[in-house]
Every structure is written in structure tokens, then in C-alpha cells.
């Protein structure tokens, strides 16, 4: 018995040894096999690059499937309605800008931002014409303080005081300066009704072409201030306020939506009809997830209907700020 044991022992040990080595070396994470790529069929896939700090505003035309223009969001501060009867002034919401009416008419007396925090307003994200921060300034000659907001790196761009002096069918007359009076500038802003707005930069103290002509684009990719529990800078899509409307449908799948559905939709002309909710930041994975089931129907200023849905927010290197979508004319 004992002798047998001795004979068997080395074999037993050898076997167990091999088994244990298997345990040591053979257990490892499985290799992967590639999955097949999807077939896009006859839908058009497009993408734009706002960069991961969302510094670009990108104007896009669905009909030609092209980016019409792009600009750094810091290229302008405020914009002036360009229609002949227009008087409204909007803030560059992509920089989280605010404005407040000081109630004062003496330009040199306004020198600080005391109390600004309590009365400051931002433009309604919907673009409703009666809900701008500056409002109807025509009957008074009040001085406004403008908070220029932040650059894409989070640097505050300072304050300006501004007085809107007059507006007629062709131009605005305004005066602005830094709070200490430096850079005191009085200029005329010309209207051109082929555009929605004429844009002004406090940095260059001059107007700039930002938006393309209003009939040339449908949607703009930009950051904008949304009224969440506190005003929060979101990244999304605004529609052209010139004859454009849109609606979200998540009941049908993207492929199910056809031209015959169009009549049943009541499209909205809110600028945020597409908005930012087609993606969500997922804190558990620290990444954005996309909701491709949110389909958007867009009617452009020519009355042509499109459907689109987003399929990504990252480029091929995993950088965020790259909305990617599928679109099709209905």
C-alpha cells in the first residue's frame, strides 16, 4: 500500500501541477472578434466638428447637406435684428451672456456692476421675440450692462455698458464702452434683410458676418443657455428663426417616418425645437449617450420636409463635440 502510494505520487503531483499551471496561464480575458458594420442604405450620414470644448458655431443646410459656415463662438457679442421694422437685440447665448437695464440714462455715471446679479437676464432659449434680456429699449434711453460671458476655456470676458440710441429701417445707432469708460465707441449698425441679424463684436468694436444669409441655412450647432434649475450652458441644435420649424417624434422609428406622416405633425418654431436632449451625459460611464429613437422632422423655409436623428456625439477618435446624424428628405 505504502509502496503504491510512492509510485503514484509523482504522477499525481505532475497532473495536479499541470492543472494548476493551466489555472495560472490559461485563464485570461477573452479576445474579441469584430462585429459587422451597419449598412446605411439610402440615408445620408453627416457630421460636424464643434471640437470637444464646443467653441464653434456651425450653420448647416440640409438641402445641400453642407456646412454653410462656422465661426468661433467668441467672434461676436450681440446681434441686431435686420428686418426693416426690427429693433430687437439678442445676446450671444453660447457664451452664457447676461444683460440688465440699469435704469440710468447717464452713460458716464454707470461704472460698476453693483446689483447686477439680482436683475440680470438672459435671452429665452426659445427665441421668443418678447423674451429677450434687453427687451424693447426704444421708448427709454437707458444704459444696459452686458455680461460678456465666458470663452470656451472658461475665461470671463468682462462687462460692457451700452446705450441703444436709435433705430430706423436702415440702421441702429449705439454707444458702448467698458465700465471704466475705456473704449468709448459710438457706431451705426446697418440692417441687411437678407440676414436675420447684424452681429457686433465688443472685441473688434465693429460688425461681423456671422450667420449666413437667412435662406441659406436650416440648423445651427451651438452652445446656448438653457433655463434648467439654474441657467446652464447646453450643447445642441437651434433652428433658423426664418421660416423653419421642427418637431420630435419618438413613437415611430426613423425608417417608419414618411411624407404621409407630415400632415399629422404640428411643427414648432421654437429655436429649441431640436434642442439638446437627443443626448445625455451618463454619470455612471462618464460618457454621452445618444437617443437615436428621437427623430426630428424639420420643415425649412422653402417648405421642404426632412427627417433626421442623431447617431453619435463622438468622432472616430472618441472626441466629443462631433454630432453625427442621419437625414433624409421626405
Amino acid at each position: 500500500m505504502k509502496f503504491e502510494m510512492k509510485m503514484k505520487t509523482p504522477f499525481l503531483l505532475a497532473r495536479v501541477g499541470v492543472g494548476l499551471l493551466l489555472l495560472l496561464f490559461a485563464s485570461c480575458q477573452k479576445e474579441e472578434l469584430p462585429v459587422p458594420a451597419h449598412d446605411a442604405g439610402n440615408v445620408i450620414t453627416s457630421t460636424v466638428n464643434m471640437e470637444s470644448n464646443y467653441k464653434w458655431q456651425i450653420f448647416f443646410d440640409l438641402k445641400t447637406n453642407t456646412m454653410v459656415s462656422k465661426n468661433l463662438k467668441t467672434a461676436w457679442d450681440i446681434a441686431f435684428e435686420a428686418t426693416s421694422d426690427g429693433y430687437r437685440v439678442i445676446l450671444n447665448s453660447s457664451k452664457a451672456m447676461y444683460a440688465a437695464n440699469t435704469g440710468n440714462t447717464n452713460f458716464t455715471v454707470v461704472t460698476d456692476t453693483v446689483g447686477f446679479g439680482n436683475i440680470k437676464k438672459f435671452d429665452a432659449p426659445s427665441g421668443a421675440s418678447d423674451s429677450t434680456a434687453i427687451g424693447d429699449w426704444r421708448s427709454s434711453n437707458k444704459i444696459y450692462i452686458i455680461d460678456r460671458g465666458y470663452s470656451e476655456t472658461g475665461a470671463h470676458q468682462g462687462f460692457r455698458k451700452i446705450q441703444f440710441q436709435s433705430v430706423d429701417a436702415n440702421k441702429y445707432t449705439i454707444r458702448f464702452a467698458e465700465l471704466n469708460g475705456n473704449g468709448d465707441t459710438s457706431i451705426e449698425i446697418n440692417k441687411d434683410s437678407t440676414y436675420n441679424f447684424t452681429f457686433l463684436s465688443f472685441t473688434t468694436k465693429s460688425t461681423a458676418i456671422i450667420e449666413p444669409p437667412k435662406a441659406d441655412w436650416d440648423i445651427v450647432f451651438t452652445q446656448y443657455l438653457e433655463a434648467l434649475s439654474t441657467p446652464y450652458l447646453v450643447t445642441g441644435v437651434l433652428i433658423n428663426r426664418y421660416g423653419t420649424s421642427a418637431l420630435m417624434d419618438s413613437l415611430k422609428t426613423f425608417s417608419q417616418i414618411t411624407y404621409s406622416d407630415v400632415l399629422s405633425y404640428t411643427l414648432s418654431s421654437k429655436l429649441t425645437a431640436i434642442g439638446y436632449k437627443w443626448k445625455k451625459y451618463d454619470y455612471s460611464t462618464s460618457t454621452f449617450i445618444i437617443y437615436p429613437q428621437m427623430n426630428y422632422i424639420i420643415k425649412n423655409s422653402e417648405g421642404i420636409y426632412y427627417k433626421l436623428h442623431f447617431i453619435d456625439f463622438y468622432d472616430t477618435s472618441g472626441n466629443k463635440g462631433n454630432p453625427k446624424w442621419e437625414q433624409q428628405q421626405l
Binding site: V16, G19, L20, L22, L23, L24, A26, S27, C28, Q29, K30, E31, E32, L33, P34, V35, P36, A37, H38, S52, A96, G117, Y150, E152, G154, S229, T230, Y232, L233, Y283, T285, S286, T287, I289, I290, Y291, P292, I311, D312, Y314, T316, S317, G318, N319, K320
Partner: protein, 760 residues
Amino acid sequence: MKQCIKKMKTQRKIIFIALFVIANISYSQTITVLAKSDKSPVLFAHVVFKPINSETKEQVVLTDTNGTVTIPASILNLRSQILISCIGYEKLMDTLILNTNKIYYLKEQNQVLNEVVVTGQYAPNSPEKAVHKIKIIDRKKIDAMGAQNLRDVLTNEMNIRISQDNILGSSMSLQGVSGENVKILIDGVPVIGRLGGNIDLSQINLNNIERIEVIEGPMSVSYGTNALAGTINLITKKSQLNTIETTINSYYESIGHYNLTGKVGFNKNKNKFTVSGGRNFFDGWKDGDKISFINNKPQLADSNRYQQWKPKEQYFGDLQYIRKINKLSLNYKGGYFYEKISNRGYPRSPYGETAFDDYYRTYRIDNAVFLNGEIAKNKNLNFLISYNDYKRIKNEYYKDLTTLSEVLTENQSDQDTTKFNLINSRATFSTSKDSAKINYEVGYDINVENAYGLRIKDKQQQIGDYALFSSAEYKPIEPLTIRPGLRYAYNTVYQAPLVPSLNVRYKIKNNITLRACYAKGFRAPSLKDLYFYFVDINHNIKGNENLKAEYSDNYSLTANYSKIKENRIYKIETSVYYNDIRNLITLAQTTGSEYSYVNIGKYKTLGIQLNNEIAINHLKISLGGSYTGRYNILSETQNVEPFSYTPEVRSNVMYEFKKINLTTALFYKYTGKLPGFTVDANNNISPTFINEYHTADLSVSKLLWKKRINLTVGSKNLFNVKNVPAFASGSGHSSSTSSVPIGTGRTYFIKLDFNLHSTK
């Protein structure tokens, strides 16, 4: 036999005298000492030969690995009194003329009586005599549970709740207080690497651990920061019987755990040298996984690539050298640990062609030198100096699943390195004379910690803590021990609190012991609390350099009753406690959009627990329950009750079939529903909860091949607990969830341990 080995440490001086004696022996007649229960040899039993009516000197000899001593030549043929003793066994005395071979059988003492604790003690002490209530988790339990790491073994402890974050790991709460207030030590050296305040318990492997000592309540006088809710001290194995010992431990669990560790120890004269190392691998788990054994077939990169419990690979190695210098032991320990967690992301909607994959690599390097022992009779020195280094690197890749190519993402926070290191030195001088009215301890504790991270101000910060502490055990009358203690610290960053404690132990009768304790505990603000810096367009969070320590007042009362009658032991223990924690460090909105850490929170817990233990021969049963109340801070402003209560029940049953070397064990725990409240922005109060669950493990182990092989098979998580329903609504960044991960379902395990040794 095992008990004997365990107690070796305290008996070393005698052993060395004895070894010296053996060297002079040339032949011949022997005495063999065997255990009465299973007739196995009793090793290192002390055999004292005392010749009667003779000038010949008394001789002490130790039994060898066969349980045998050779009768010293000087005593041969003399009528002598012989006394055989070994810890774990009852003493045996006989008088005879020594001239023949003789066998003695020693009767085992009951095991419960033979435990030793060191945490917070002046010298190794029995838990019965300690003024603190110290719970021991011994190797037997660790083995019977098939526990691989600290998380595994703590799942069966009362008053401890384990929670799982699949990236940060396993964390715990003790007495209802979160893990950042629990100090974890290995041989008295603090474990570092707290992420979000918690140490990942699954990174603490138990291969070299002999026992775990758990103290509930503050030990801040001795161990400083974090030791507020409790202290867990893991004691490594230091003794070895044979010249060369080799152990190989292998473990397989049906959800894909593959562990292999090995150890070689050399023990010669006054030197002992041990090398150990191993690899643990886990292939990940998600609900619906099937049992598999080494299946390395490549898989399609579809949704199956995502695992809820992440795949994990650990490599580790340890060195230990111990040298005896008189009654002191000089000990060097070095350790290396590497862990890689792979988080293959879920294929991204809608087409599943890309995914974000994260890899988390943790590196730990630990070095420590200890000098422990008696410097004079009943005067003890415990010195240690250690350097611990911790590094965690996160990398994120963006993977194209159609081509399997991947690129590192450019987002700065996706690639992150966190580093900590700690230089710790502590020393205590203590007296431990049993008959003295007063024994005392004085000591110092120095901790210099560095932290490095992307979101720490200036990327790097240092904090130094220099503490002196002292305590005394005063015995005005024999059954009463009063131990006051005090700690004073100078801290380089904040004003450290003065920490007092008072422990009282009173033995009413022979079998009833009362313990009362008041102690202050504290948690120093962490380097993150002090120096966090995260400012971007949507965030403005800054640490606060003016923070004070969180502190607590803890009151506890414990009563023990124990009755021992031959082979039966009955123990009952009940305790109540109350923790009142102030100055809790909380993230709060300070001005406008700025957030910072402030000392505004408060928290309380209270509880009662009851535990029974019965041992009859080889059957051991324990059954206990606890009721823990957690404070609802909302009760100060809202109409909710001040405390929410959670019950727990726990039971162990172990039976040893001594004759066939078979042990069976059952571990059960019921963890009750954890209720709470939350309030939303509109002041609506809603209840939150984590549902109750039951866990149970069952195992059978058998010693084979002359005890060289220990085979254990068992099943873990018999109640098949996976994700437990929970509701926690929140605002801002947190979101409501419908379940929390608790377990990975019912699993089966097999554990095969080899113990090979030779004596030269």
C-alpha cells in the same frame, strides 16, 4: 496541534533555550506526546524533567515534528517528575523512572480559550482579558468560507455592510458609519489608497493572513485618523515549524475566479525567510452568465462584452524576513501588488459599432521594518517604520468594434493618475506585568502623506501628522481594570484634536465580564477635502484649507457571560453603542456658483447586538442579531423620524469530524432593509431604501495525504442574490436607481491547498 503553533510567538524564549539543550543530546529513550482526540503528534510541547531527590538540574526539551523528545542522558534512570505542556492542551504531570519509551496523550483545551489579540494591547493578550471588545476572525473561518480577500470574509460579519462599486471596488460601513471612518491596518500599518474615502476591500488578499482582529468603536488614541467607527487589523502569519515549508493554494469559482498562490518559507536557527506570490484572475460577471471553466474562445464584440462586475487580474508578491535578537524580533516585510480592472464598454447606440473601454491599473508597493518584543521582563517595545506607495492609473480608449482598432481619448479627465504615499512610524513602550496595579503605554505615531492628482490644487500636496499618545491600565482591585488614554497631535495643515478615551473592564463573577467605553474618534480632513480643485465652465469646486477634523463621541457597553464545562462552552454577549459624529465634512454651495467642503454635517448611529456561541465537542454554533439605527439629518428640518433602523441576523455552524479530517461549515447572514429619506428641490420628502437580502455559504473540507492536501468544496451565495432592489432619488448629478449590486448569484467553488515541508 494548530493551537500550539499559534501560540509559538509568545513562547519563543523557551523554545530557544530548549533547542540549545537538544544540541547536547546523543541518544536514546524517548517520550512521545500525542493529541488525545486524533492521536496526531503534538509539536513543540514543552517537556520539563525534574529529577526528584537528586542534584541533577531540571531540563526542558521540546517535542519534534513527530511529537517525540529524547530523554536527556543526565536524567535517564532517575526518578523524575515530568510536566508536559503546550498551549491549546491541558497540562499533564507524571512521576516515573525514566528508562523506557513512553507515549502520553494530551487533552485539547477548548479552542475558544486560546485566542490572542494584539490590536491596542500592551502585549499579546487574550481577548477575554483585553479592556476592548475584540472580535477575531481566524484562519479556520477564512478557509472554511473560501474567502479570498477582505471583502469576502467581512460579508458574514455582524454590523458590517458591504457595498459594491464596480469601478471603485468594495467598501464597507461599520456600526452604520461609512468606510472612510474605518481604519484598516496590516500588522498595524495603515492601508492607503482611499478613493472617495474608501479602501477597496477586494484588493486586500488574505493569503498570508493568520487572523483578523476587529474592534468596533474608536481607537483614535492609538491609531489616529479614520479609526472612528472601528479598526480592522490583519495579522500576517509569522511562525513556521519546519526548516522548509512550501504551500500552494489554488481556487476556482464557477463564475470565473481562478486564483493561484504559492509560498516558500525557510526557517533556520534565528532566521526565517518567506517568499510568496500569486495571481488572481476574474473573468467578469453579468446576470445570465453560465458556469464555465477556462473558455478562451474569442467572442463577438457585441453587447456580451459588457460585464456588470468587471474582469480583474491581480499579481502580487511578498517577502518577509524575521530575525530573533534575544527576546526581540526584527522583521522586514516588502510587498508588491498590481491590479488591472478592464471595463469593456457597452456597444454604443444605435449601431453598436463603437465603445469606450476603460482600464484601471493599481500599483501598491509596501515596505515595513518592525522591531517587537520584550526588552526587559514585562517591558515591551513595538516599533515600526513603513513606506507605502499607491498609484492608480485610468486610461480610456475609444474602440471601433468593426475593426477592433482603438485610440486613447483626448479628454483630459479620461486619462488620470492618482498617487498616494505614506511614511508611517510608530513606536510604543509598554509594561505588562500581570500582578502590577498599574501598567502603561507611551508611544508616538508619525504619518507623512503625499497625494498627487489632476484635481488636486497644484497637482500635489503633503500633510504631516506627529502624534504622541499614552494610556494606563489601572487595577485598583483584581476584577476591575480602568484604562484612560490620551492622544495629542501636531498637524502641518489643520488643528488636530486632542483625543481622550476611557475603557473600563469589570469582571463581576468568574463568568460575567462588563466593559464600558467612552472614546473620542476623529477623521482628519483628507488631502482631497483640503485641496480639491475643479474649475471649468460648468463646475467650481474647491477644497477648503480651513477644515477641522470630523470627530465623534462614542459610548458603548458590553456584557459577556461565558460558561465552560469540560467540552462544552456557552458564551453570550450583548452590547449597546451610540456614535455621535460632528463636523462632518460635506460638499456645499458656498457663494454663488462655488462649491466647497465645509464642516456642517452631523450624524449619529446607535445599536444593540446580541451574540450566542455554543461549542460542544467538535460542534460550534453561533447565532446573533443586531439592530442598527442611522440618523436622518432631515429630521431636523422635516417631519421624519430621527432614526431609521435596520436589523441583521447572523449564524455560523461548524462541525469537525476529527477522525476523518473532515470539516463542514455553514455561514448565514440576513441583512435587513436599509431605509432612509431624501428631499428634492421642491421640498418633497420621499423614502429611500435598499431591500433586505440573505446570504449563505456552505463548505466541506477534507485533509488528505497525511494532511498535506486540504481540499475544500462549497457553494457561495446560496440564496442567489444578485442585484437588490433599491430606491434612491437624488438631484443634480446623482440619479434614481432601481437596484444595487450585492452579489454575483449562487456559485460553486473548489479549493485545493498543498502543504509540503521538510525538516533538515
